[in-house]
Symmetry: C2
Subunit: 198 residues, 2 copies
């Protein structure tokens, strides 16, 4: 029997700290603009796909975690930007359930609409707000990525899911800027990491 793996680690690319904002971001547009800059940096840095995400505490606007796509460099199809941001936030706060870690709750900014995997990660995370830049149709139009299926009415499912805490969804924040980031990935000839497509 060959040796099987016991553990795996996922990490942000070197230099991520230099991408952080110098002061507290308070508006949705400012937070999404920061996330889109992070996605641009990940493209230029060739450290993963053209997506970034960040978790903030609501009300206080405290930045809790950032994420960028790490699928290809870290050999892990789970390592979407949202996965990185959610898991790093949970590590920092020492809980699998972000809904219990602050009376204010936490919000996830995602440069692109979550795929079904990241919809599921959002579902179980304990986040209470999701803010989206580019839509799935933008991603499929502007890049080679397939987006896959989502449950019908996914936004309403998140917003109304008794007995679980509701997740508010806000679409199209900085959508045009988010589309430009995707165009720059296509122009950079970055890899398509969908299964069977690389």
């Amino acid at each position: 029997m060959p040796e099987l793996a016991e553990r795996f680690e996922l990490s942000l690319p070197a230099g991520w700290q230099q991408q952080l904002p110098e002061s507290t971001l308070t508006s949705d547009v400012d937070k999404m603009t920061f996330v889109l800059q992070l996605a641009r940096w990940n493209i230029a840095n060739k450290s993963g796909g053209p997506f970034a995400a960040a978790v903030f505490e609501r009300e206080t606007n405290r930045l809790i975690a950032v994420g960028v796509n790490r699928v290809v460099p870290q050999h892990c199809s789970l390592a979407h930007a949202e996965a990185m941001a959610i898991a790093l936030a949970q590590q920092s706060l020492h809980t699998h359930d972000l809904s219990t870690a602050s009376k204010h709750g936490f919000e996830l900014f995602a440069s692109g609409q979550p795929c079904v995997q990241c919809f599921g990660m959002t579902w179980w995370s304990g986040l209470t707000r999701l803010i989206v830049g580019a839509r799935s149709e933008d991603i499929e139009q502007l890049t080679q990525f397939c987006e896959g299926p989502l449950p019908d009415g996914w936004q309403q499912l998140l917003a109304n899911r008794t007995p679980l805490p509701p997740v508010e969804v806000q679409m199209d924040i900085c959508r045009e800027h988010a589309r430009e980031v995707l165009i720059s990935y296509a122009q950079s000839d970055g890899p398509n990491y969908s299964p069977g497509r690389s």
Copy 2:
């Protein structure tokens, strides 16, 4: 600005190697029986939720990776059994796309029907076969867990998803045995790690 996390690690519980089969498992029933023993061990060991999974190479029946639920002990809502098995298989094979790592392809045995997060993980993994023990309705009937939504026709979506490689789905393998494992978790008074429910 407080320090943010840069990396996270997920691992199998100590003693997992002693749970491995001594010889090659060749039938679906034998593989699922092994996975269900692993889930029972995770319950008795109090090292996570009542779910286990394993990745095998198709045709050769080589065991590539195992996974058990690690959500609560490792503070990570991503750490479902399927996530562990998929990520550990990809680490061992040094690729984010299992469809490229063997001409035979790889299959995932899951003691319980994948939730939407694990459906998404399966979608992007490059696996080409998914074998399920207990159904979602068994999990919701026998434990406190909410299962959440799945895309309508999720089995057909996996089986027919041009241009991505198809994923065959086989349900109800050792379903009664899988239900007994879930009952034993409910009797053990194990935690409910759904958001807002712990």
